[in-house]
């Protein structure tokens, strides 16, 4: 398969700069801002993804596509952002100040109101069938040959079991981290020191070598080996999970679970993770939609912005695709419990960073937000857009034997106007 390495082509740089040049910050960014981390990232060509998954379905009205004063607009007001002409909900004041780093797609229609199907359609970029998740595809094609960490890490509270890697190897499956807890069993049992661990592992390796000599299905034995290798790498990085976040970080990110998870996400990205997904739970607001969005987005807004700032300041945003998404949005109509129900027909996704035109708004919904008015976007379009932005040719086939499977849904295409 063909792989475009890098998304730092000159023409992209130029267009991005000219876009941002309107602001003083953008002008200052031209030249000389490469930090060592960024320089390293550009040099290595490694691209990353940060997924912030607002689980349950954040309301588009209370976030990216406010409609104050309309029939279903709800009680919250909209506020101006750092991008002239773009307004978002008053619940996202910090994000509003950083809107020039992000773009919004306001016209997503997933044609489902089901949590699982909505999630699958966004993660797989396919309407149905067994396909790998965004994170697994990233792990497979963006991670370096010997990644220091498993390629696809998911920091979450609850485990929704999915076959995230589909036909890609098991080493590309999501590794779930329950909150900021280290993966279970990361510490050696008492009584087994480094020397003993190495010794017994050497004995195991020898046995594996003999067995692999029997041939036949190397994919099986290799997958098995790689799971132990990933375990070993995680154990080596145990300190990542153990270090207490600094007081300054806690002050900036917040001491709530989402805050400390985002600190961990940053550390994982800094330490060579390819795709880190952080789930923020609690958006399935069938009752008290407004009170709950007040609480949830208050947590999300500042914390997410601190993470965005850190990526931006270290220069890593240039090589990190940032996605903020839910499995669907919420109904325009309020139910009698002040709730909004499931709504996949017209909602928003925000994205930015690597390869994405910043400050753009793609598509729109009609005046009451009940349907897409312009530029309908489905999961497949977003999936193509993500990976094209990361420099992957999504029309190419997956690198697997047996059958040709296009990476992106052939029935969809990237959102060209978002590609820097």
């Amino acid at each position: 398969m063909r792989r475009e390495i890098g998304c730092n082509r000159i023409d992209h740089e130029v267009s991005r700069r000219s876009f941002v040049a309107g602001s003083a910050a953008g002008a200052a960014a031209v030249g000389g801002l490469l930090t060592p981390a960024q320089a390293e990232a550009v040099k290595s060509g490694q691209k990353r993804i940060l997924q912030v998954f607002l689980q349950g379905g954040v309301s588009q009205f209370e976030s990216w596509d406010p409609k104050p004063g309309t029939k279903y607009g709800g009680p919250f007001r909209s506020i101006p952002t750092s991008v002239p002409g773009t307004h978002i909900s008053e619940l996202l004041p910090h994000t509003a100040q950083r809107m020039h780093l992000l773009s919004i797609v306001r016209s997503v229609d997933l044609k489902t109101n089901d949590h699982r199907i909505g999630r699958l359609r966004l993660e797989k970029g396919r309407t149905t069938g067994e396909f790998p998740y965004v994170g697994a595809v990233a792990s497979k094609y963006l991670a370096p040959p010997n990644p220091p960490l498993p390629g696809y890490l998911h920091i979450t509270t609850r485990g929704l079991e999915d076959n995230t890697n589909a036909f890609l190897g098991a080493q590309h499956a999501q590794l779930k981290l329950l909150g900021v807890n280290a993966p279970e069993n990361l510490a050696r049992p008492a009584g087994i020191n480094e020397e003993a661990a190495q010794r017994r592992n050497e004995f195991r390796r020898l046995a594996n070598e003999r067995f692999a000599g029997r041939g036949g299905q190397p994919a099986f034995t290799e997958a098995f080996d790689s799971s132990f290798e990933m375990a070993r790498r995680l154990m080596k990085r145990k300190s990542l999970f153990e270090q207490e976040p600094s007081a300054k970080d806690v002050e900036r990110y917040g001491s709530h679970p989402f805050g400390v998870r985002c600190i961990l996400a940053r550390e994982l990205l800094n330490n060579g993770a390819t795709c880190v997904k952080v789930t923020h739970h609690g958006y399935d607001t069938h009752a008290e939609n407004f009170n709950f969005h007040l609480e949830q987005l208050d947590e999300f807004d500042k914390t997410f912005c601190m993470l965005l700032d850190d990526l931006h300041d270290s220069g890593m945003l240039e090589s990190t695709l940032v996605l903020v998404y839910s499995e669907f949005g919420r109904t325009p109509k309020l139910n009698q419990r002040y709730g909004r129900d499931h709504w996949g027909a017209s909602f928003s996704v925000a994205l930015g960073g690597c390869g994405i035109v910043p400050g753009a708004v793609v598509g729109s919904t009609n005046a009451d937000g009940t349907e897409v008015a312009k530029r309908e976007v489905r999961g497949g379009h977003l999936f193509h857009t993500y990976f094209r932005a990361l420099g992957l040719d999504t029309s190419a086939n997956h690198d697997i034997t047996g059958r040709p499977v296009p990476i992106g849904d052939p029935a969809a295409a990237p959102i060209e106007e978002l590609l820097a």
Binding site: A173, A231, L234
Partner: protein, 588 residues
């Protein structure tokens, strides 16, 4: 298949395996001369009416067809497995766990020429086999779905009893598809429907996948875009059997059950062509089943708030009949493919639930033969497994040609044994059997029995059924824990997943530690009591890998014992290493 030639190969290979491959044989002459392989013999349970069967013995015919399907089969073909390979494989496949060290030693010592078939028969009639099938069919039918409307324990008992009684597959499926949850006797069978919340689309799709081997999901909204065989009317034909049924909560027992209305048709519109369609209940391409002339009374019990609807004519009750009819080739083709995959490591059609003309079986004649014979033998699951276990195809060594292209060809041709990742349950049970932790549990169960019923304990504890069930009860939480960790995805699959957290469980987890802790009767304790390094090596390899160590391996063990000052530590470490190696992780 010419038996004589096969025999020769077997002897040669056994020597190869025992000698060249793993080094020279160790002491213990019992094991150095491989016993003669079993000559395939026909078995035909007396109860089966053979009049419809077209062949003499199924296993011979399978071998003939498998061999004939690939031109250079003979050059690819691996020899028949050694006894060591065979016993581990057949124990795992039929009883769900590796043999104990004692069982392995007994079998390897046995010089009877018919010992393989005898073992197959013994395992098939053991309580462990019913448990194994319970696990397999639970996964196949419920796909590790979490549901609570029918408690797992009731469902598992029903499955286990069904397989202990060797309930024919058509009967088992009839019970599942006809269960409404109201009939207490068949309530467990209603789990298939009820724990899918009787979501009509989910149930329709899963019936297609699980019982027919076709995934009609896309056909819900339009004729399948890529698969010409899957039509929207197939989907709605199945759904029409069920469309009138609904979940009813009994006001007294609060139990969920199915009620049914007397009216309601399915209509569908293609999202592509906007063509409207309508169908009677039907299974795939079989004729539709129109409703009979409406009876005077539409209902036996008219649906109301507190009344579960029972129509005079029930469409749902026609479903099982339509499913198991001999005209429904898909029904038997699906299950024989699934049982083949279970035994051989890969379906003749893969994936198991996507069979259509463009995803044709690798060995169509074999698939047809299995389906035909399964029908002739009245859907006798145990008979089919018995026949499959007797084939040379099943019994071949998993040592593949060293050239990787040839090896791939051999795997595709079923010319060598395929690696089968242990299911989570197999892995859990094999771990506790290998480490001898089962003896600790069994001892505790026996002690508890002694205490509870001192009079009858002695007799009861020799009952194999009691032993199996007590051991299972005692180890349930251990097994569940492993299953949670290792069962990433539900459904019968032949692919392999290995994740870092599974490896971490193995490397650092407290359970493995616990199993390795020396206490009376467990492997590490037994090994500590052995004098010579060779004895340690032999018992270690027999217990964990069901085979004798090679000379090299014995040497490695000796070195290990020499290099580590603390003997118990060395023993624990080596045991861990073998429990954690690929040879243990796969059924090979």
């Amino acid at each position: 298949m010419p038996a004589r030639r096969l025999h020769t190969i077997v002897v040669l290979t056994s020597m190869l395996i025992a000698g060249a491959r793993f080094g020279a044989p160790t002491e213990g002459a019992d094991f150095t001369v491989p016993p003669a392989p079993p000559l395939p013999t026909s078995i035909a349970p007396a109860a089966v009416d053979q009049s419809e069967s077209q062949i003499g013995s199924l296993h011979d015919e399978i071998d003939r067809l498998v061999s004939a399907a690939t031109p250079d089969f003979d050059t690819l073909a691996a020899p028949v497995s050694s006894d060591e390979e065979f016993i581990r494989r057949v124990y795992l496949d039929l009883s769900g766990t590796i043999p104990t060290s004692e069982q392995a030693r007994t079998f390897l010592k046995d010089s009877s020429p018919a010992k393989r078939e005898a073992l197959i028969d013994r395992l098939l009639s053991s309580p462990q086999h019913a448990r194994r099938m319970q696990y397999v069919f639970d996964e196949m039918l419920m796909e590790r779905r979490v549901g609570t409307d029918v408690p797992n324990a009731e469902w598992e008992t029903w499955l286990r009893d069904s397989f202990r009684d060797n309930k024919p597959w058509d009967q088992l499926v009839t019970e599942i598809l006809s269960a409404d949850g109201a009939d207490e006797k068949l309530r467990p069978a209603a789990k298939f429907y009820l724990d899918r919340k009787f979501d009509i689309d989910l149930v329709t799709r899963d019936i297609g996948r699980v019982f027919l081997g076709v995934d009609l999901e896309c056909a819900q909204c339009h004729d399948h875009p890529n698969i010409d065989d899957y039509l929207q009317r197939h989907y709605y034909g199945i759904s029409a059997f069920l469309k009138r049924s609904y979940v009813f909560t009994d006001s007294k027992s609060k139990k969920k059950m199915l009620g049914e209305k007397a009216e309601g048709d399915v209509k569908f519109t293609s999202v592509f062509t906007a063509e409207e369609g309508q169908t009677d209940p039907r299974v795939m391409n079989l004729p539709g089943i129109p409703d009979p002339e409406a009876a005077k009374e539409l209902y036996i019990a008219k649906p109301a708030g507190k009344v579960r609807g029972i129509p005079t004519y029930s469409r749902r009750m026609q479903f099982a009949k339509a499913m198991i009819t001999a005209d429904n080739v898909d029904f038997r083709t699906n299950i024989v493919n699934r049982l083949w995959a279970l035994m051989m490591g890969r379906g003749l059609v893969e994936p198991l639930d996507i069979r259509h003309s463009e995803n044709a079986p690798s060995h169509p004649e074999v698939l047809k033969l299995l389906a035909d014979e399964f029908l002739a033998h009245k859907y006798d699951v145990r008979w089919l497994i018995h026949e499959l276990a007797l084939t040379t195809t099943y019994q071949r060594s998993s040592a593949a040609p060293s050239d990787s292209d040839q090896a791939t060809k051999a795997v595709d041709a079923f010319a060598c044994g395929l690696l089968k990742p242990l299911s989570p349950e197999q892995f859990a049970w094999s771990s506790v059997v290998a480490t001898g932790f089962t003896t600790v549990t069994m001892r505790a169960q026996e002690a508890a029995l002694q205490k509870a019923e001192p009079e009858t304990a002695a007799a009861k504890q020799t009952d194999p059924l009691w032993r199996e069930e007590s051991l299972h009860k005692g180890l349930k939480s251990e097994v569940d824990l492993v299953v949670t960790r290792f069962a990433g995805q539900g459904g019968q699959k032949t692919s392999f997943e290995a994740t870092a957290d599974q490896a971490l469980f193995q490397i650092n987890g407290p359970n493995v530690e616990k199993w390795l802790k020396p206490q009376d009767g467990v492997l590490t304790d037994r090994l500590q009591k052995l004098d010579s390094p060779a004895e340690v090596a032999e018992e270690l390899y027999i217990a964990v890998l069901s085979r004798l160590p090679t000379v090299d391996e014995t040497a490695n063990v000796t070195e290990y014992l020499d290099s580590v000052s603390d003997r118990p530590t060395a023993i624990r470490e080596m045991t861990w290493a073998l429990l954690s190696c690929a040879e243990f992780r796969f059924n090979h």
